[in-house]
Symmetry: C2
Subunit: 290 residues, 2 copies
């Protein structure tokens, strides 16, 4: 079996370490990044190559991994004369780790097949720490044969991965994740607002609630930082506004109304307008107590 060659497009806080894990796992990696200096830095750190365009990065690759910002960013690296699909080889697989709309995933799946390649939408959860530690959860959509071939690559930076269904299913699963988090964080914020205005010790409240039906990852990992008004870390609300936007579009496409996801998104937009766009998603508490 010949060596698996990987191209990695997008060296942000997620992509940079993910590409590094691929190189360390023994897959020769060629990276592309819009800002070239970052690609040079990555190349120096991990020893892989860097390319001048997404097309050039894709040309020799068995897997082209993409991890950029949003639908528009994905389109810009995939399409056009310098895009991934212009350089992709027959039978190669494009894996988009960006959180995008499910509509885009379905569209790129078509486009990849038209170019003789395969496609998986595969958004991740676990954040920057998960990317750095190679402990991401990967939610994939696409064909089972492509998924099976991708598993050795996922193993380089993932702790869990599953195929949820056809193209777009990975994005839909990530939407479920973000919608759940929206409800959890708003409920937690409302609960802590009452606790704090009642003079309760949040540490005690967190401890006793964590043993029961109100338990959540957010309660265990964010109640303390929220009580200390600390939000300069974690998952920025700019990203959550984008993700919930795609979620609400997908819900509408299916005739669903998601009142709390919709409301929480509007709360985040309020906070963005107040300059808190880089704050962690747990910042919802700030809307409730001054």
């Amino acid at each position: 079996m010949s060596q698996i060659r990987v191209a990695f497009i997008g060296l942000g806080v997620m992509g940079y370490p993910m590409a590094g894990h691929c190189q360390k796992a023994g897959f020769p990696v060629t990276v592309y990044n819009r800002t070239t200096v970052k690609a040079e830095q990555w190349s120096q750190e991990f020893g892989g190559d860097f390319a001048a365009t997404p097309r050039e990065a894709a040309e020799q690759a068995d897997f082209v991994l993409v991890c950029v910002g949003n639908d528009e960013d994905v389109r810009s690296v995939m399409m056009g004369d310098d895009g991934v699909l212009a350089g992709i080889g027959q039978g190669s697989i494009v894996i988009d780790h960006t959180t995008t709309s499910a509509e885009l995933a379905r569209e790129l799946n078509e486009a990849a097949h038209a170019a003789g390649a395969e496609f998986l939408d595969a958004p991740v959860s676990g954040g920057q720490a998960g990317a750095e530690n190679g402990q991401l959860a990967i939610m994939a959509g696409g064909e089972a044969s492509a998924f099976a071939r991708a598993e050795p690559v996922f193993a380089a930076y993932g702790k869990a991965w599953d195929l949820l269904g056809p193209a777009g299913s990975g994005q839909q699963c990530k939407m479920v994740n973000q919608i759940c988090i929206a409800g959890i964080l708003q409920g937690l914020s409302e609960g802590l607002a009452l606790a704090m205005s009642s003079g309760l010790d949040v540490e005690k409240v967190q401890k006793i609630l964590s043993g029961g039906a109100a338990q959540s990852w957010q309660l265990e990992n964010r109640a303390h930082t929220m009580a200390r008004d600390e939000y300069d870390f974690g998952f920025a609300i700019d990203w959550m506004v984008k993700d919930l936007g795609y979620s609400l579009e997908e819900a509408e496409r299916r005739g669903l109304t998601l009142p709390v996801a919709s409301q929480v998104r509007s709360f985040y937009q309020e906070l963005q307008a107040q300059g808190m766009n880089r704050c962690d998603t747990s910042v919802l508490l700030r809307r409730l107590i001054k």
Copy 2:
């Protein structure tokens, strides 16, 4: 040290096994229940006594434990010529395990002190299973000296207990619990509505989400039953409507607006009106998909 004598008022799905645990722990128990046949049944099963009125049950007790339905029920067993406070001994402790308003807890604390007794508000979480297995979490409010004396009693049916602050603090902590659950369940319902209408396998979604920031007790324990449209078990929305009602009153008293707790309560009221009042709180999904 003389034996601790317990009176237990209210033999519902929670009180019946809790009183049993006290008797089995070696505290002689006298029970009172509005429906006498239940008290007789309890007495036959566990060997303790039963009394004709709350007053009579309280007369010889060091601890009077109350676990009934709502504020009105608590008032009716505490007050009046036949009530607990008419029979309570000097220095005895009343522990109210009912989930009530914090206002009632503060009022009963005053009334108990006026009668020469002490008071703890001590709502529980863990549900019927927790009561039966002696694994409840107990959130107490009141004086530290009373709390310290009560710990051997809590040990009979609790797995965790803490003193949150002065009278009413136990109820406030329970409110935080219920508010968190409201947000978690509505978020989970909206997420599962999208998952199911997208044709995703809920088991796979639950498994991959449980490893990350969307993890919750509700996701792990209710996603499967929700996907199967099973709601004839668990915590009835009748109780949740009551609990969230007290929570919203307490929030208003503190000048707080809790948009999601308020909205989820109105969703539960819709479901009550449709005859689903005994369904588990996870039934929120039924509002979203038919």
